[in-house]
Point group: C2
Chain length 221, copies 2
DNA sequence: GCGCTTAAGTGACAATATCACTGAACCGCC
DNA sequence: GGCGGTTCAGTGATATTGTCACTTAAGCGC
């Protein structure tokens, strides 16, 4: 993908102005990851900062007994501030980022990052906004996990995963890992959804048959 | 409290150098809150940045049905970055900060904040470290709530609340609000702890009688 | 000592998690 | 096509946690 295309990617409300983008390009490298590859993790601490150019990264946390929960996703045009946090604190944590599709990232060495932050107000704002966004994302996760009902959370997640479509290609285990619960729980709730004719199921595939009702359930709490 | 004392407060690994502190003092105001007062919240969005000089702030989140959970505490010498996040994003969230003791805060207007961040590398590092620290704190909360057992979390929290002491002055409801659960749950688990002779209870007061065993339980997961 | 208020205890039940399985669908191979 | 292995999904039993509707007890002011 051509470097000139970056312009489009970082457009929008939280975008970087052209000048800053151009400076970024001068000092940054491009790196590719294949779908499923780990971008960072407890055993794989980054020494640079990542900006996602193309694709999405799924950031999740794994518990001691092997269960997962998705914290948030990094989309094209966003930065992955957890890598920054990782560099600044010595504390251990067990979050990891996995490429959810083939991705292209801009790798910015720490020194270059420091200089850009110091010299470019727009870049600084971008970074602060990214941090803030993730903090808010995590507040939402805490709220969901601590206080949310699993059927509501599942309905919400199904709609998100489906996007504009009606079909979702995912196993029960994968969805359980999204929500930080066990497969059996997801199986039972999906079975219930099926009985209520909100969805249809086949192996590894879920079809939303009554999107308005599902949305009503997702918004009901 | 004299301004000269700030020097001590902001010492330590994450401290601000004297020069930066002095600049901070030139543009900042001092404000006091009494114990129990709300420092910020959904209805009380700050237009400035807060640095805590003295006391502690408890930052918690409230669910739609009234249950609370403590996200983290801001101690003297730290900054409250959630207020920053609040200013930078329009998204609504339901976190609030309450003075846990009488507190003294340094209030830094946004413009002054921007200038300090731009001009003082040490201040910039301080702010980034604060953000990172909170992100890590929230990861821990997510992990606890999603995967932790309530007895383990309670044991851990009792030890934290006790500090070096053996006595805790707190109602079951207050502890439940720390952990994001219901009072009845805390009552039952504490009753169990009592039967196992880890603690003794009276109204509004818990005494740790077997700290090593309690710590063993807290670390057991 | 008498009410009032708040803290804590309790039983019944609902929701979610865990464990140990069974059955069903897909895949590659002969 | 049929067979065997692998992954995915279903299910019952049981444990943990959350919810509801109370009761009981402790402190406090008068």
């Amino acid at each position: 993908m051509a470097i000139g295309d970056w312009t489009e990617k970082f457009q929008g409300t939280k975008a970087l102005p052209r000048l800053v983008r151009d400076r970024l390009l001068n000092v940054a490298q491009i790196r590719h990851y294949a779908k499923g590859q780990q971008v960072f993790g407890p055993e794989n601490l980054p020494d640079s900062l990542l900006f996602l150019f193309d694709g999405t990264i799924r950031v999740s946390q794994t518990s001691d007994n092997g269960r997962d929960i998705v914290l948030y996703r990094v989309d094209a045009g966003e930065s992955c501030v957890l890598t920054t946090a990782c560099m600044l604190t010595e504390e251990a944590y067990n979050a990891e980022g996995v490429a959810e599709s083939d991705i292209t990232v801009i790798v910015l060495p720490k020194l270059a990052f420091d200089r850009l932050v110091a010299e470019e107000p727009a870049f600084r704002s971008f970074v602060f906004a990214a941090y803030s966004r993730r903090l808010i994302d995590l507040l939402r996760v805490v709220d969901d996990v601590a206080f949310g009902r699993i059927d509501v959370r599942l309905a919400d997640r199904l709609l998100t995963l489906a996007g504009g479509d009606k079909e979702i290609a995912a196993t029960h285990q994968q969805i359980a890992s999204e929500l930080g619960t066990a497969r059996e729980v997801i199986s039972r709730v999906l079975h219930d959804f099926q009985k209520r004719e909100l969805i249809a199921q086949s192996r590894g595939r879920i079809t939303i048959t009554n999107k308005p009702a599902l949305r009503g359930l997702a918004d009901s709490d």
